[in-house]
Symmetry: C2
Subunit: 268 residues, 2 copies
Amino acid sequence: MTTPSFSVYGLATPLLRPGDDVATHLLSSVERSPARNFEAGDVVVVAESALATAEGRVVKLGDIEPSAKALRLAEEYHMDPRHAEVVLRESDRIVGGIPGFLLCMKNGTLLPNAGIDASNAPEGSLVLLPLDPDASAARIRAAIAERSGADVAVIVVDSRTHAMRLGCSGVAIGCSGIPSVIDERGKKDLFGRELEVTKRAVADCIASAAELVMGEAGECVPAAVVRGIGLPVGDYAGVATIDASECLFMGVALHADPSLLVKGDRES
Amino acid sequence: MTTPSFSVYGLATPLLRPGDDVATHLLSSVERSPARNFEAGDVVVVAESALATAEGRVVKLGDIEPSAKALRLAEEYHMDPRHAEVVLRESDRIVGGIPGFLLCMKNGTLLPNAGIDASNAPEGSLVLLPLDPDASAARIRAAIAERSGADVAVIVVDSRTHAMRLGCSGVAIGCSGIPSVIDERGKKDLFGRELEVTKRAVADCIASAAELVMGEAGECVPAAVVRGIGLPVGDYAGVATIDASECLFMGVALHADPSLLVKGDRES
C-alpha cells in the first residue's frame, strides 16, 4: 500500500521592491533550492506582503489625511490615526476591534486591519494587500508555464489569527490552478456512511504548510514550492468563500443568544 | 544558501477500535511507509477521532436521555436531541449556533458541536474528543521513545472550520515535545524593525500540513509524520491558548459596536 506524501521547499529571494517581477525571482530562486526547478503539479506559494510590495501596493503614512471616523477609531483602539484611515479605506466594513486592531470584512473574509501590516514595509510606510490576489496568482502561474513549461498552481497566502487560537497560521487569499476547497460530498466514512463535514480547505492547509518554511521575520523566504500533493492542476480560479449567514463564527456576532450562555457570564 | 524544507508522510493503519494501542499501530505503520522509521526531531501527527476511538471515547445514542435544554437547542438548531445533549455535556459553554451545529467553548477553544462528530463513528454512536489530548500526546511520545529510541514530538489534531473560511483545516488540540506557538518577539523584519505580529502557531500549521495527507473519508490514514521541520524537540507540553478578551474575533461577539458598521447593515 502506498500512502500519500509531499515535500515543501522554501524559496529565498533578494528583498523585493516595487516594480520587481515576482515570477522572475521565483524561477531564479527555485534553481538555487533543493527543488531545483518547477514541475507539473507543483503548488507555488507566494507571501502576500512580498507580492504586494512588488506590485507597488505601498502607501506612505505622511501622505494620509485621517478622516473624522479614522480619528475616532484610532482613539478607541489606540492606533495611529493614519493607519486607521488606511484600514478604513481598504475595508468593505468594520465589524469590531481590540486595542491595535480593527476587525474588517474585505472580499468576503474577516481580517484584522484589512490585512495591512507595517512589518516588512519600508520605514513610514504600510504594505496593502495585493489588489486582486487571484489575478496575481493567475499571472504568476502563466509566467511560470511560459518560461519553464511547468503546469503549476499558484497560491497567494497571508499569515492570520483565527478565533480563539493563539498565533498566526496560513490562509490562502488568492488561488490559480487548483480548487481552493475540495468538496467530498458523496465520499464515505470509515463505516461506509456519508461524511458530515465534507469540505476540505486544501489551499488554506497548503498555505499553513508553506508558512512553516517561509517565516515572518527578515528571512527573505517569501515563497515556497509544495511537491507531490497530488491535487488536480487545471483551470481553477479563486478562493471559495462562505456567506456570513452560513458561518458559525459570525453567527455568534449576528445571532448571539444570551439565553444559551449555560455556564458563567459573558466576559466583558 | 540553504533554504528550509520538510516532508510529510501519511501513516496508514487498520481501522482503530476501542482498546487499541495507538503507538503500536504507528510504529508498525511507519515501517510500511516511505518514512521507514521514526527519527529524532520528527513530529508525529495523530487524528483526534482515531485516538478517541482507541481510548474508548465512544457513546451510544440509544443510551442518551436528552435534557429539556437539549430538546430546546435541538429544535432551534435542527439537531438530534441526543446529539445536542452530548454536545451540552461535553461543552464548557454554548455561545451560539446555526442549523446542525452548536458553537461551544471547551478548554479555552471555540468549536462546533464540542468537537463531536458522527462521521467515522460506528452506527448509532458518536466519537467524543480525547479526554486529555495533551496527556495522550505525551503518552504516545513516551511510548515511541521507549520502543524506537527516537525523540519525536506528537501532536493530536482536529479538522475544523474557521471564521469566514469555507472548509476545514487542521488545528492542534494536543501537543507534546515542541512548542505549539513560537513567539518571535525581538526578531526583526526585512527593514530591521521589531515584528508587529510575533506569534506563529506552528502546531496548527503542522496540523494543516498533515491534513493534506490524512483525509477525512474512509482512507484509514489517521496519522502522519512530518520530517525536517527543524523545531526544537524537548519537554514542551500543551497547546497555548488565548483568553477571549484578547481574541479579536470573540471581540466581535463580546464587544460588538453597531456604530462601527460603516457599510450596509448587519446581516440577520
